[in-house]
């Protein structure tokens, strides 16, 4: 009886593993010289990366390559390293990673590079010596210009506006704000920035700051929120003050967090890159790198149906951020 039991345990396990095998077989066997590209998100369940994967899958189908998409499902910071080290042994042709721990993951990526695997990063960069290219979803200049252009368009190129930022000391915020100001001075001199308020990356604080801005500046035409919690925060303030439509709200944030306000007409536009395009471009770039078609020093890169992209140094630029409005926001689910 006991023998039977231990046997059934083993048989059961073998069955389970067998199931794994059959589903693998339907997934397409990796025969021949099909290139294998491994794509790693920061974390696997994140809607942002799931929509990146959509674009990546499309690119993989067009290129006829095998795409492995795997990443941490738990918050263990060592997990990204382990998966990459497994991929090295597995012998993938290229690795594209969005890095959670810059320094930590670089150790594993350098090892991959040393073994002749092509490495690129996307979304969040590693240390520059650990990868060949970084697919940069948005430059500070691109973000700054897009925000200012959008603000000017909504205000008819003149009037007062205010900015809500995360903090007055955050490097990326300062950088963006610098480009917003440069664009304003050169293109829209009749626009006037009347206030710059920090919200500490909190929605509540953004809301109270926006409320204060509204009462202090009766001629205010637009609030620009440049950190993601501030966009719904500012929108809520405008809505509660009954100034929907008279004071416009725009900002940098996720479509999903702002869908409600955009549909109600409180927020006019939300600015972000198209994550699907990010995944698509990343896979195309990894593929070209593995084939030797993309080299250091190139200045242009053509990625399938999306056309040409610019390369600045070792940064492959996704281009101008995308504007989500009432018309298109329902097509995006991140």
């Amino acid at each position: 009886m006991n023998k039977f039991l231990s046997f059934s345990i083993v048989a059961g396990l073998a069955c389970l593993l067998g199931c794994g095998k059959s589903s693998d077989a339907t997934g397409g066997s990796s025969g021949g010289k099909k290139l294998t590209i491994a794509l790693m998100p920061k974390s696997k369940g994140n809607a942002y990366f799931i929509s990146c994967k959509k674009g990546a899958d499309k690119a993989a189908a067009e290129l006829g390559i095998e795409l492995i998409f795997d990443g941490p499902t738990d918050p263990d910071p060592a997990r990204q390293n382990e998966i990459i080290e497994n991929w090295i042994t597995l012998g993938v042709d290229a690795i594209a990673a969005a890095c959670e721990n810059k320094e930590g993951i670089s150790t594993a990526l350098r090892k991959a590079k040393a073994r002749g695997i092509k490495v690129i990063t996307y979304d969040a960069d590693a240390l520059p010596d650990a990868r060949e290219f970084f697919v940069n979803q948005a430059t500070p200049e691109g973000i700054g210009h897009r925000l200012m252009d959008e603000a000017a368009r909504l205000c008819g190129n003149e009037g007062e506006f205010a900015i809500i930022t995360a903090s007055l000391t955050a490097a990326n915020m300062i950088e963006w704000q610098k480009h917003i100001e440069a664009r304003r001075a050169s293109e829209y001199p009749k626009m006037k920035m009347v206030a710059l308020r920090p919200c500490d990356d909190l929605k509540d604080k953004a809301q109270s700051e926006a409320t204060a801005l509204l009462s202090a500046n009766p001629n205010l035409k637009l609030i620009m929120a440049i950190c993601s919690p501030a966009v719904p925060g500012a929108a809520e303030a405008v809505k509660q003050a009954g100034k929907t439509g008279r004071v416009k709200v725009i900002g940098l944030g996720l479509p999903s967090e702002n869908r409600r306000y955009v549909k109600e007409g409180v927020t006019d536009s939300v600015i972000l890159w198209k994550t699907e395009d990010l995944g698509y471009l990343t896979v195309y770039a990894a593929h070209a790198l593995a084939k030797g078609e993309l080299k250091t020093g190139d200045t242009r890169f053509k990625a399938g149906s999306l056309g040409e992209f610019e390369i600045q140094g070792d940064n492959l630029l996704l281009g101008k951020p995308f504007v989500f409005t009432k018309e298109n926001i329902d097509q995006f689910d991140f």
């Binding site: 231990s6 083993v10 597995l90």
Partner: protein, 337 residues
């Protein structure tokens, strides 16, 4: 009596054999689907990736043998990792000194668990649930959650990333600890007293075993081992951050229980734990080679655990059920004769 003991012995033996068998099957299966699975490189990957959890599982085995548990080891790994980083980078201590101090911090933390458990007689589950949050919280407070220690010298990273005498460098440390814990549990009176405490703490006390001192010993040992794991972890990743080792305590407990150690204490073995660690590590690595997504590993680990455990309980239940059925027949037979 004698036959029962004998039967029990073969049962304990059988659990580990089943596990070994499972391991061999895992190995052959993954070898057949993943061409690179059986390479030496990959075997070293498996070894390197399982050493920190392996160390924690080794330290957890004597604790569970005494009927206790330590939920704080993963958090302590995080605390020790950043202590080590802080001592090296901010206090400017040389690596060996920083490492020695980190081991002391581990011992102190283990001592805190031990004193709460032995002096205040609080249940280990409650005590270590508290220190689980406390240690992680301390680690986050010291670094404010964002500070990351990195740029360690190559001579230190060697420990986690290079090979020495043909094996990954950290494997030698693991080997020494494994042998030491095995000897402690299986070849000394300490080991026997752990089991005695696990079976019946009051009985052990009446038998003259210094229960408190033995308990303190296993928790301090776990603290030191967690600190050692933290140093190896830092060398492997090349970075120390407050979230190091998140969730490792559960992996370690899973490995111990999978290895046949009873969660109620008294029964279990160190080689069982080692097999448990190996079974989980091979599964998680092999699934990558079988091109299966990561979440399948968690699922199959769960299935493995449930199967292995019911595999060692169900035969016992069946045996009692059969004897119960046999008794009336025997009575009938004795009546007719």
């Amino acid at each position: 009596m004698d036959t029962e003991r004998h039967g029990f012995k073969t049962l304990a033996f059988r659990h580990e054999t089943v596990l070994l068998f499972v391991l061999v099957i895992e190995w052959f299966y993954f070898h057949s689907v993943g061409p690179r699975f059986g390479t030496l490189d990959n075997s070293y990957d498996i070894l390197r990736h399982s050493i920190e959890i392996g160390l924690l599982a080794l330290a957890m085995t004597p604790i569970i043998l005494t009927g206790g548990i330590d939920l704080s080891v993963g958090s302590l790994l995080g605390l020790c990792a950043i202590t080590f980083g802080k001592l090296w980078r901010d206090a400017g201590l040389p690596i060996p000194v920083a490492a020695a101090c980190t081991l002391c911090v581990g011992a102190l933390a283990g001592g805190l668990n031990a004193s709460l458990i032995t002096w205040l007689r609080l249940p280990p589950l409650i005590v270590t649930l508290g220190t689980y949050s406390l240690f992680r919280g301390l680690a986050e407070a010291i670094t404010r959650g964002v500070d990351t220690f990195t740029n360690f010298p190559p001579s230190f990273l060697f420990l986690g990333q290079e090979r020495w005498l043909g094996l990954p460098a950290q494997a030698w440390i693991f080997l020494v600890v494994a042998v030491a814990v095995w000897l402690l549990v299986h070849r000394t009176t300490f080991g026997r007293s752990f089991r005695a405490i696990g079976f019946a703490p009051e009985g052990a006390r009446y038998a003259g075993i210094p229960v408190e001192r033995r308990l303190a010993m296993v928790y301090v040992l776990a603290g030191v081992t967690a600190a050692l794991a933290a140093i190896i972890y830092t060398a492997r990743l090349g970075q120390a951050k407050a979230d190091a080792g998140t969730g490792y305590e559960l992996f370690a407990i899973t490995a111990v229980v999978l290895g046949g150690t009873s969660i109620f204490g008294g029964v279990g073995s160190v080689h069982g734990t080692l097999l448990g660690v190996a079974a989980i590590a091979v599964l998680s690595n092999g699934l990558v080679h079988a091109r299966q997504p990561r979440e399948v590993a968690g699922m199959l680990t769960g299935v493995l655990l449930i199967l292995a455990l019911s595999g060692s309980v169900v035969p016992k239940m069946l045996a009692t059920w059969r004897t119960r059925r046999q008794i009336p027949r025997e009575i009938q037979q004795s009546n007719t004769t």
